[in-house]
């Protein structure tokens, strides 16, 4: 079976425990999550959960069907790569020393990321982009010594006049 990475967007009613319900379904059915984010949406009745995961077609369809069975879940959609924008943000703290500084600065420049903190011994890079870009940057700076890192996980939105909430229109 072909394992692929894909992103699912879920629109859920703003009810207590809804994140637990969604997360618990993944745990109970043995599906692994690569990243999960929850955020506010344009409508305060709903929150949006974005999950990125890896699996084959049968896992993907099973996940979507199980999600649709949960009460408080309004919409579930696989965000297709060519029809949506994916973004993720990472904060990466690196050693700040004269030997590697130039290398870090040029990596930051090439990846169009930016330095958001600079101290005598450390510097912190903020990088935004698709997961593949962030991973390429991490691979590049890893030999220079990553002291600490955190990532938001993927968020995704449809391109053009297509919306997660099927009731939304232009």
């Amino acid at each position: 079976m072909n394992e692929e990475r894909y992103v699912i967007a879920i629109l859920v009613e703003n009810q207590p425990g809804i994140l637990t319900r969604v997360a618990s379904m993944f745990n109970r059915r043995g599906f692994n999550i690569d990243s999960l984010t929850v955020s506010a949406t344009e409508d305060n009745q709903y929150s949006r959960i974005t999950i990125s995961l890896t699996g084959d077609e049968s896992v993907r369809s099973q996940i979507i069907r199980q999600l649709r069975k949960l009460y408080n879940v309004k919409e579930v959609k696989v965000m297709e790569r060519d029809k949506s924008v994916y973004r993720e943000l990472a904060l990466i703290k690196l050693r700040n020393c004269p030997e590697t500084r130039q290398e870090v600065l040029s990596a930051v420049d090439i990846f169009r990321s930016k330095i958001v903190d600079f101290s005598p011994n450390t510097l912190c890079v903020e990088i935004t982009g698709e997961t593949s870009k962030i991973e390429a940057f991490i691979a590049l700076v890893e030999p220079l010594g990553i002291l600490e890192m955190c990532r938001t996980g993927v968020v995704a939105i449809d391109r053009g006049c297509s919306y997660l909430n099927s009731e939304t229109s232009l």
Partner: protein, 561 residues
Amino acid sequence: MILTGADIVVETLIEQGTKTVFGYPGGQVINLYDALYTRSDRIEHVLTAHEQGAAHAADGYARATGEVGVCIATSGPGATNLVTGIATAMLDSIPLVAITGNVPNSLIGKDSFQEVDITGVTLPITKHNFLVKSIDKLADTIREAFAIAKSGRPGPVLVDIPKDVQVATFPYEPSLVVEKKLPKPAKHDKLKAAVQMIAESQKPYIYFGGGAVSADISEEIIALADKIDAPIGCTMMGLSLIPVKNPRFLGMEGMHGHYASSVGQDEADLIITIGARFSDRATGNVAKYARRAKIIHIDGDRAELNKNINVDLGISCNIKNALQRLLPLIGETKHPEWMARIEELKREEQEQFEKVTAKDRITPYALIQEVAKHTNPDTPIVTDVGQHQMWVAQYYPFEVPRTFISSGGLGTMGFGLGAAIGAAKATGKKTVLFTGDGSFGMNLNELATAVTENSPLVIIIMNNKVLGMVRQWQTLFFQKHYSNTDLHTRKTDFVKLADAFGMKGYRVNELSEMESVISQAFNENCPVLVDVAIYEDEFVLPMLPPGGSIEEIITERSDQS
């Protein structure tokens, strides 16, 4: 009308058609019990011995009727005692509403006395659950709980109500019974694809499960089988939907299924699956399951399609509607060779049965046949879990839908007595409980409930003084290491036990006594228990070893000569 929360709960239950609730009082449901007290002319409460018994009773009530069963427990231990019962209902898709009290909102999260996060605990074993934090949502939440429990694929819903919500007051407006939402009708092109596959099949096999019982489609299944000249098999959860005497019916397939049913399914070239979920107990080794067949899967739950088995055509829909629309689209066909093969398999099955079934002792088969002489077609037949359950599933001559009441998916030992009390209450009919000495030992405290209610139960204990099903596996797969399955050291006298609970008990030790004692037991108009001694090494046969395929089917004992 301004009412307290507790009153609103009970009024809403009555409004939603609840006639009987099963439960146990406690600190955080005192208000609720007061509301039940003042409405005892409109709603009956059955006090069980333990909350688990209440959950199983509500479940048995629901299985016997298709109505939503309701149980009530207090916070903390009361609520956690419901857990096994709720999980049992979840795995078998039984509509259940469980109502629990909780500590007041102000004490939630402080590890207060008898506080448990029961919505957290039951999250994976309920279809949905609610914590009602304010009284303005109380009535609508209970209505929604009923709607969820009975709509689509049914299941249990828990409503947790903090004490302060029961005490508060709010206007109550009566409402209508909530509608049961059915799955959407099948798409026409899917049905046409099914017609095509049926037309191409030479060896069709119809296979149904608990979803078919829930959708009440015995007539449609028989009509389909007659029209396409196919045999019918089922899962354990499907039992009682099709009369056993129907010549097309081969019985349950799977781990302890009938030989003809399991082998017939394996040899089929098309399996028309209706409301079944391909559980591991039904399929064995999935890689070898139904290798020769195309599979059509018609189910009310879309998530069941391609979950356990990949199918050739999945139709997620209202299954009754789908079958009713499918029938006129298919032509009448005959498959004489296939049906002759099925007859041959039935003969082989009969020969195997004759070979392994003793005549000179009380066999489970003989006992079940003896009991069946005294029952009516609509007598609820309840079981616990283990060997006795499989024997009843294999041998009892079911005729009427919903007369077989048994814990399938979860396999809950201790389910039977509570469920039998619930089924008897729901139907008002004499109800038979087949149990084993192991299962019965788990929740026999509910005899107290049966006596209080004067439930018309005939409890048949198949007493082999061992945990027979596990022992069977130990015999076959663990070199007869009978680890903790021998109950001979227990000196429980079930007849004295019956007496202690204030009911009648009988004992059958010899085959010669069986007929008269069973007959006596059925003449009683009160709960009665019959302790029947059976051979400790009686096997459930045939058996597909767990994860095995049809070639590995065990049809006779090889460990004995």
